[in-house]
């Protein structure tokens, strides 16, 4: 899997330029900001939504919307069918055995909290170990710290080198017979590093540990085949893959999900309720208490259709090529330093500028219509590792163009001129 991603990234130079065609599907890109065309370079925070996704949600809301499950009227049936079809669509996208392994959640953060609260509290005991990497998003750190406070588990951190690569040998040396789980990002949201997850899985499984992969920054930019990766849990959010906010996925291996207790109680997740005792549904519904994000599920499925048409691998190569172009052009600006340098990266570019704080950079380039993000990107431990308080980050999506890169670099040059 990571081998495939590697090969495809290397081909990027030959990729015909196709962003123009995708771009016209995104209505928001027609916006201007203070008279300048919007240059949206914040897709790692959230991707924009293409018209087919917006249309799918609107048509569903106008024609078929009702609450799902249990209803017998026509709309309830249509809504339930649409919702469960979305689940099947996700399963097909991931290449997993059964839609029953796909749990809908609010997003990757909730998915990780679910695993920590359900699997973690049931399975882990004081002294059990879990391993994270030094480049995790806070959402893959804090739930485990909460679990540590509740159970007394030990959290170990696999280091990354100066380029932002996972240090394989150091990681391997952290694994032992107390290691129960390795929770790691597939792609760094700060540096774009593609982590060799298949290798991580092999090492972890050999030590008897399960593997949870945070796929938020991967699914829209690499071909992801969860079966081939061999992970035990894979989590991601719809809004980072051209779908709506408010919905995401916890995929878990069927036998593991079966053994996990509910984490939230309520409607939708029960078989039978009596005041003496209630019985619970099987996964995935066991983990879906309350009315889910129904319209969003419809949009999510449409986003997967759209992404598969474009081809995540092809989009990713295009984005990486843009990031490399930007990196070369930024290198000509005095005092700009691009962070990271892993051989395998997506279209995420973090940089700093001597004497100028990233927030000032982001404010100034925004005046030219260029939307980038500045700060710690919810990865404070990685900032510490890199020895900086914050970065400015440009992250590319399928719709970005060479013109976007030129506008971005010109705006950054303007920052240099202003600050001297």
């Amino acid at each position: 899997m990571s081998g495939r991603a590697r090969a495809s990234i290397a081909d990027c130079a030959d990729e015909p330029f196709t962003a123009g065609r995708w771009r016209q599907d995104f209505p928001i890109l027609d916006r201007s900001i203070r008279g300048r065309p919007l240059v949206y370079l914040d897709s790692a925070a959230t991707t924009q939504t293409p018209r087919p996704v917006l249309d799918a949600m609107r048509v569903f809301a106008e024609r078929s919307y009702a609450n799902v499950h249990r209803g017998v009227h026509t709309l309830a049936c249509e809504a339930t069918e649409g919702f469960e079809a979305a689940r099947a669509r996700v399963a097909r996208f991931l290449g997993v055995a059964s839609p029953g392994e796909v749990v809908f959640v609010r997003g990757a953060t909730e998915a990780i909290n679910l695993v920590a609260a359900s699997w973690g509290r049931k399975t882990l005991r004081e002294g059990d170990e879990i391993v994270l990497s030094a480049m995790e998003h806070h959402s893959n750190i804090v739930p485990w710290q909460m679990l540590r406070a509740a159970t007394g588990i030990v959290i170990k951190v696999a280091p990354v080198d100066e380029r932002g690569c996972l240090q394989r040998d150091e990681f391997a040396s952290l694994l032992n017979d107390r290691t129960r789980l390795v929770a790691m990002t597939h792609v760094s949201n700060v540096l774009g590093t593609i982590v060799p997850i298949a290798d991580v899985v092999r090492l972890s499984h050999a030590a008897g540990a399960l593997v949870l992969v945070d796929g938020c920054q991967a699914v829209a930019h690499l071909p992801v085949d969860v079966q081939a990766l061999g992970a035990d849990f894979y989590v991601f959010s719809s809004h980072k893959m051209y779908g709506p906010t408010g919905i995401g996925v916890l995929w878990g291996r069927g036998d593991i999900l079966e053994g996990m207790p509910p984490w939230q109680g309520g409607g939708e997740m029960i078989l039978n309720v009596a005041f003496e005792q209630s019985t619970f549904k099987r996964p995935p519904h066991r983990f879906e208490a309350g009315t889910p994000a129904i319209v969003e599920a419809i949009g999510f499925a449409a986003a997967i259709d759209y992404l598969e048409q474009v081809d995540a691998g092809r989009a990713g190569r295009h984005e990486r090529a843009l990031a490399e172009m930007a990196e070369e052009m930024l290198a000509e600006i005095d005092g700009v330093r691009v962070l990271g340098g892993a051989p395998e990266r997506t279209g995420i570019l973090s940089f700093v500028m001597s004497g100028v704080h990233p927030h000032d950079i982001a404010t100034i380039v925004d005046r030219s219509g260029v939307a980038i993000r500045a700060g710690h990107h919810c990865a404070q431990p990685l900032m510490q590792r890199l020895g900086i308080p914050a970065t400015a980050r440009a992250s590319f999506g399928m719709y970005n163009t060479h013109e976007d890169v030129e506008a971005f670099v010109a705006a950054v040059r303007g920052v240099r001129e202003m600050f001297g």
Partner: protein, 155 residues
Amino acid sequence: MQDEALHDLYQAVILDHARNPRNRRRPEPCSHEAAGDNPLCGDRVTVYLRLTDVGQIEEAGFDAEGCAIAVASASLMTEVLRGASEAAARRLVVAIEALCAGRELTDPGEDRESLDRLCALSGVRAFPMRVKCVTLAWQTMLSALEGTDRGSISQ
């Protein structure tokens, strides 16, 4: 294209204070200090004051890690605080909040001279997301006066 709002925000006085912050030190002795941070963006500032027995600020210093606006605000603040009474310092916090929100200041009275200098910070009112960069140092100064350890600006 001249962007007036942007040049108002990053005007020469601000850039000068950001590049060459004044009073970036801990005065010795120091009677009051507090640390503040803005968890949203990671800016951190520590404010140091030496007050006389009658509540006059003899010396003010700071340390900060943050953007140009946050550093310039702290630097300018320490300049105007020197020699000010505690009561005047408190009034200035209220005035700064008003300045950043674009509200008209009612009669500045005896604070006029300080406020004239602090007007350089008013460009931030066109950038609501950056207002906290200005106010962080001032809120932290208030925490120092009140003897609370730590100011934190939450979203």
